[in-house]
């Protein structure tokens, strides 16, 4: 990690951000990628365009509500254009990007946007306007599963059954056997928005839990964060994989490249993670995520090896084969199962989170496979167009 050369983008970040300026980048001390904010995305339509314009107009003040008026207007028009009760919002890249930017204020922040926007009431009100129909659409997409399980082993079994019966297409099998060099680079780009902040959306749940489920979540997350060692954090391993494949591992570097379906998957995690009332759903999401990782990770690793990538590049996947075989057991029984034992009213939310994870991640896989099978790119523009 520390051998990463200083990039142009890193130098620009330093100029833009006072906190980075406190730690000036020199040739001797390359700036770690961990400090990067989300690059300011390019607008995908009137909503994200109005939002980016408002947020980059300086810190919020008493006139924040007025400055967000164009965002509210664009949003009202966009939502009115969706068929009532439909899942159109999941296909609306403009609205999804706006929501992603709003959520990102709670993570690393956004380049050129003052951090005070994070808790600006007028912005939170606009976010709620998106979250209402977004949550409804995610619930419908997930199929609102219900259950009768009351103890941890039964909840775990139900979650394993849900994951096993998921009939989404297998991206990992395609990567193992057939993907070409460019397609695996695209795969990394599609994953990079999440994987460079891997585990963060689930960490929001830590202070919202207590007792056994909290201890279980901490046990998993500690491993996700490399047992507290910089360079062993899973996000760091993913960054190394990106570099090995010749990609830029700057946080959020490819935000403009990913299709709406990826933004939906990210926003689903943030929706569940940032709302205490949905703590059951973020727990279920984590359980399903872990349960669909160890075997696919082996297949991804095999695909990268088939294409001649070295051990450093495949380590991210190799690590996940072993780690997630541990995590899925802890997540199913000790985390999700014990949470339901503690608070049976959360059971259906746990199942919702798991089903939503399988659905939206499956949509990403189906989209990428569909594009590749048509001979196209799974990104909004092929990577070489950015070179």
């Amino acid at each position: 990690m520390t051998s990463t050369p200083v990039r142009d983008t890193a130098a620009r970040d330093t100029a833009d951000h006072p906190d980075a300026a406190d730690h000036p980048v020199t040739a001797a001390t390359p700036r770690p990628p961990h400090q990067a904010r989300l690059p300011l995305p390019a607008a995908r339509g009137p909503v994200s365009g109005a939002l980016v314009a408002a947020l980059t107009s300086g810190p919020p003040a008493d006139d924040a509500g007025e400055r967000l008026a164009p965002v509210r207007a664009a949003l009202a028009a966009a939502l009115a254009a969706h068929a009532p009760g439909s899942r159109d919002i999941l296909d609306d890249g403009d609205v999804q990007l706006a929501l992603l930017v709003m959520y990102e204020l709670h993570y690393r922040g956004v380049e050129g946007v003052d951090d005070a926007w994070e808790w600006e009431p007028a912005l939170l009100a606009a976010r709620r306007t998106i979250e209402g129909p977004f949550e409804a659409a995610v619930r419908e997409r997930a199929g609102t599963p219900t259950g009768t399980e009351t103890d941890a082993p039964a909840v775990a079994r139900r979650l394993f059954d849900l994951a096993a019966s998921d009939d989404g297409p297998s991206l990992s099998r395609y990567v193992a056997k057939r993907a070409d060099a460019e397609q695996v680079r695209e795969l990394l780009v599609l994953k990079s928005l999440y994987q460079l902040k891997e585990a963060d959306p689930h960490t929001w749940a830590v202070p919202r839990l207590a007792g056994a489920p909290k201890a279980a979540l901490v046990e998993i997350q500690a491993d996700e964060y490399g047992g507290g060692q910089v360079g062993r954090m899973h996000a760091d391993l993913f960054a190394r994989t990106m570099r090995g494949a010749g990609l830029d591992d700057t946080y959020g570097r490819y935000v403009d490249a990913v299709p709406a379906v990826v933004l939906v998957a990210l926003n689903t995690m943030s929706l569940f993670g940032l709302h205490r009332r949905l703590r059951g759903a973020i727990v279920g999401h984590l359980a399903a995520f872990e349960m669909t990782s160890s075997i696919p990770s082996r297949l991804y690793g095999n695909g990268f090896r088939r294409l001649g990538h070295d051990e450093g590049t495949t380590e991210y996947f190799d690590e996940h084969v072993e780690a997630d075989a541990v995590h899925e057991q802890i997540a199913a029984r000790d985390l999700a199962g014990r949470l339901v034992e503690q608070d049976p009213a959360l059971r259906d939310d746990v199942l919702l989170g798991a089903a939503a994870c399988l659905a939206v991640e499956g949509d990403v896989a189906a989209y990428a496979l569909g594009r590749w099978q048509e001979g196209g790119s799974a990104l909004r523009e092929p990577l070489d167009a950015h070179a």
């Binding site: 103890d151 082993p153 039964a154 775990a156 079994r157 394993f160 096993a164 056994a212 201890a215 279980a216 046990e219 500690a222 491993d223 047992g227 160890s294 075997i295 082996r298 084969v321 072993e322 780690a323 997630d324 075989a325 541990v326 899925e328 057991q329 802890i330 029984r333 000790d334």
Partner: protein, 71 residues
């Protein structure tokens, strides 16, 4: 979950691996220590893993049943 009263705890996961928590030493047939790269590890119990002695999730696709009636 760690129990403060127990130093090493092995959990038999239904139809799955053995989860080992605490300062257990894992050794091979010659007594040489196999390095644990995380504080909690999962030992394969189905025999199908590609990364022995660790679990790689294969039990979920090879029909393994532990039959230990853990629930």
């Amino acid at each position: 979950m760690r129990d403060a009263a127990v130093e090493v705890r092995v959990t038999a996961c239904p139809d799955g691996p053995l989860l080992v928590r605490g300062p257990a030493q894992i050794v091979d047939a010659k007594g040489r220590e196999i390095e644990k790269r995380r504080s909690t590890v999962a030992l394969c119990r189905c025999g199908g893993t590609a990364i022995p002695p660790w679990c790689d999730g294969t039990h979920k696709v090879n029909g393994y049943r532990s039959g230990d009636g853990a629930d």
